[in-house]
C-alpha cells in the first residue's frame, strides 16, 4: 500500500514538474549551452531534470522554432549547442507572465494549507 502511494506521489510530482520544464529550459538559454551544461546549470539552481527528459525536450523545442542549435567542434569533441530564438524569446515572455499569474493565484489558494 505504501509503495503504491509513493508511486502515485512520484507520478503526481512528475506531472507537476513536467509543466514547468519548457519555461525553465527557455529561461536558461539566452546564452548558448549544450545539454549537460544546461542540466548542470538547472541543478545548481535547485531544479533536477533527468537526462532522458531534457534532450528530447530540447529537440522538440527546436522543431517548434523556439530554439536554434548548431554543432560546435572547437572543444575536445563535438557538442550541440542550443540557444533561444527570437520566436522563443517572445514565447518565454508570455510564459513568464502566465507563470507569475499562476504563482500568485496558487499562493492565495494554498495560503491556508500547512505543509
Amino acid at each position: 500500500m505504501e509503495n503504491t502511494q509513493s508511486e502515485q506521489y512520484q507520478k503526481l510530482t512528475q506531472e507537476l514538474r513536467r509543466g514547468i520544464l519548457v519555461l525553465a529550459a527557455l529561461s536558461q538559454l539566452e546564452e548558448e549551452k549544450y545539454g549537460y551544461s544546461l542540466i548542470s546549470s538547472l541543478a545548481e539552481q535547485g531544479l533536477d531534470i533527468e537526462q532522458g527528459t531534457l534532450y528530447p525536450l530540447l529537440r522538440r523545442l527546436e522543431e517548434q522554432g523556439l530554439l536554434k542549435s548548431e554543432w560546435n567542434t572547437e572543444g575536445s569533441r563535438p557538442r550541440r549547442y542550443y540557444q533561444i530564438s527570437s520566436k522563443g524569446s517572445q514565447v518565454l515572455g508570455n510564459l513568464t507572465e502566465e507563470w507569475r499569474n499562476l504563482t500568485n493565484v496558487m499562493e492565495k489558494l494554498l495560503a491556508g494549507i500547512s505543509s
Binding site: Y34, G35, Y36, S37, I39, S40, E50, Q51, G52, T53, Y55, P56, R59, R60, W71, R77, P78, R79, R80
Partner: protein, 333 residues
C-alpha cells in the same frame, strides 16, 4: 566495442532512420559529458554502466524522441478503427458463409466443415490485417476523421432527445445484411434465383437481373448512410430526410420488381395469386416466381410502413425538441 558504443547502437535501432545519426551523436556527446562531469576523463566500465542506467533503457530513450508516442493506431483514430473492425469481421464471416452456402446448396459441391473453418480462420485475420495497414497509413499521415468539426463547438452537441437516438445493434445488423446482399448480387448474380432441393435444379430469376443495377445502387446508398449514422451517433432532420428518400427509391424499385414478376407470370400463364393448384402442378419455376413476388410485396408493404414511421418520428422529434426547449425556458425563469 565499448559499453557506450553498444548502448548508442542499441538506441539507434529504435530510432527513425532520418534522425538516427543526429540523435546518436548528441546522445554520445551528452553521455560522455555526464561521465566526465561525474567521474573525470577516464571512467571505468562500472561507472559507464551507472550513467547508462540513469539515461534509461535504449528502447525507452528512443521512444522519448517520438513526441506523438508510438502508436499503430492512436487514440484519435481508435474508436473508428474498433467500429469498422467489428463490421469487417461480421461482413467477412457472413460473406464466407454465404459463399459456402452458395457452392454447397446451389452448385452442389461437397461441403467440408474443416475447409470452411480453415477458410474462416485465415480470412478474418487477413481482413483485419488489411484494415490495420489502412489505419496505420492514416496514423502515419496524422489523419483525423474528416467529420470531426474543428474547432469544436459545444453548441453542436446533439439535443437530449430520445427520438434521435440510434439503435446501434439494428443499424449494424442492417449494415452487415446490406453488405452481404450486395456481395451476393455483385459476385454471384448468376445465383440469384431459387432451387428445388440442395444440389437440385436451379432456376435463375430473370426479373431481378433486369433491375440489378438499381438494386445495387439502392443497397450501396443505404450502406453508406448507415455508416454515416454510426459515425454521427444520432439521427438528425437531414438523415431522416435522406432515409425517406432512400426508402422511397426502394419502394419504386420494389414496384418495378413486382410489376416485372406480374408480367412474367402472365406471360407464363399464371396470373393472379399463387393457389394450391400451382403448387400441385409441380411447376417449380412458377412456384418460385410466385414466392419471389410475394416476398417483394411484403417488402413493399414493410417499406411503406417504414416511410410513415419515419415521418411520424420526425414529427415526434420536432415536438420533443420544442417541449425540451420550453422546459429549459421554464427552468431558467
Amino acid at each position: 566495442m565499448s559499453l557506450l558504443d553498444r548502448y548508442i547502437h542499441e538506441v539507434g535501432r529504435f530510432l527513425p532512420r532520418k534522425k538516427r545519426g543526429s540523435i546518436q551523436a548528441e546522445l554520445r556527446s551528452s553521455v560522455i559529458d555526464t561521465l566526465e562531469g561525474r567521474f573525470g576523463p577516464e571512467p571505468d566500465q562500472d561507472q559507464v554502466a551507472e550513467i547508462l542506467l540513469e539515461f534509461g533503457k535504449p528502447r525507452d530513450v528512443a521512444a522519448s524522441y517520438h513526441p506523438r508516442g508510438q502508436y499503430l493506431v492512436g487514440p484519435g483514430l481508435y474508436p473508428l478503427f474498433q467500429m469498422v473492425a467489428w463490421i469487417v469481421v461480421a461482413a467477412v464471416l457472413g460473406a464466407q458463409l454465404l459463399a459456402f452456402g452458395v457452392s454447397a446448396f446451389i452448385a452442389g459441391e461437397p461441403f467440408s466443415a474443416l475447409e470452411t473453418l480453415a477458410s474462416l480462420v485465415s480470412s478474418v485475420p487477413a481482413a483485419l490485417g488489411w484494415l490495420l495497414i489502412t489505419f496505420m497509413i492514416l496514423q502515419y499521415f496524422d489523419a483525423k476523421p474528416s467529420l470531426e468539426e474543428d474547432p469544436w463547438d459545444p453548441k453542436s452537441l446533439p439535443e437530449l432527445n430520445p427520438e434521435q437516438e440510434l439503435k446501434k445493434g439494428e443499424l449494424i445488423l442492417g449494415l452487415v445484411g446490406g453488405i452481404l446482399i450486395l456481395v451476393l448480387l455483385t459476385l454471384f448474380p448468376q445465383w440469384v434465383g431459387f432451387i428445388t432441393a440442395p444440389g437440385g435444379k436451379f432456376y435463375p430469376n430473370p426479373v431481378i437481373l433486369d433491375y440489378l443495377v438499381l438494386i445495387q445502387i439502392s443497397l450501396l446508398a443505404t450502406i453508406l448512410m448507415n455508416i454515416y449514422l454510426l459515425w454521427k451517433g444520432s439521427w438528425t432532420f437531414l438523415t431522416r430526410v435522406i432515409k425517406l428518400g432512400l426508402d422511397a427509391f426502394g419502394v419504386v424499385i420494389l414496384a418495378f420488381l413486382i410489376q416485372g414478376h406480374n408480367a412474367w407470370l402472365v406471360a407464363n400463364g399464371s396470373s393472379g395469386v399463387m393457389v394450391i393448384s400451382t403448387i400441385e402442378s409441380n411447376n417449380w419455376e412458377l412456384v418460385g416466381m410466385h414466392a419471389f413476388r410475394l416476398a417483394f410485396v411484403v417488402a413493399f408493404i414493410v417499406t411503406v410502413i417504414e416511410i410513415f414511421a419515419t415521418i411520424y418520428r420526425m414529427v415526434r422529434s420536432k415536438m420533443a425538441s420544442d417541449v425540451s426547449a420550453k422546459d429549459f425556458v421554464l427552468k431558467v425563469e
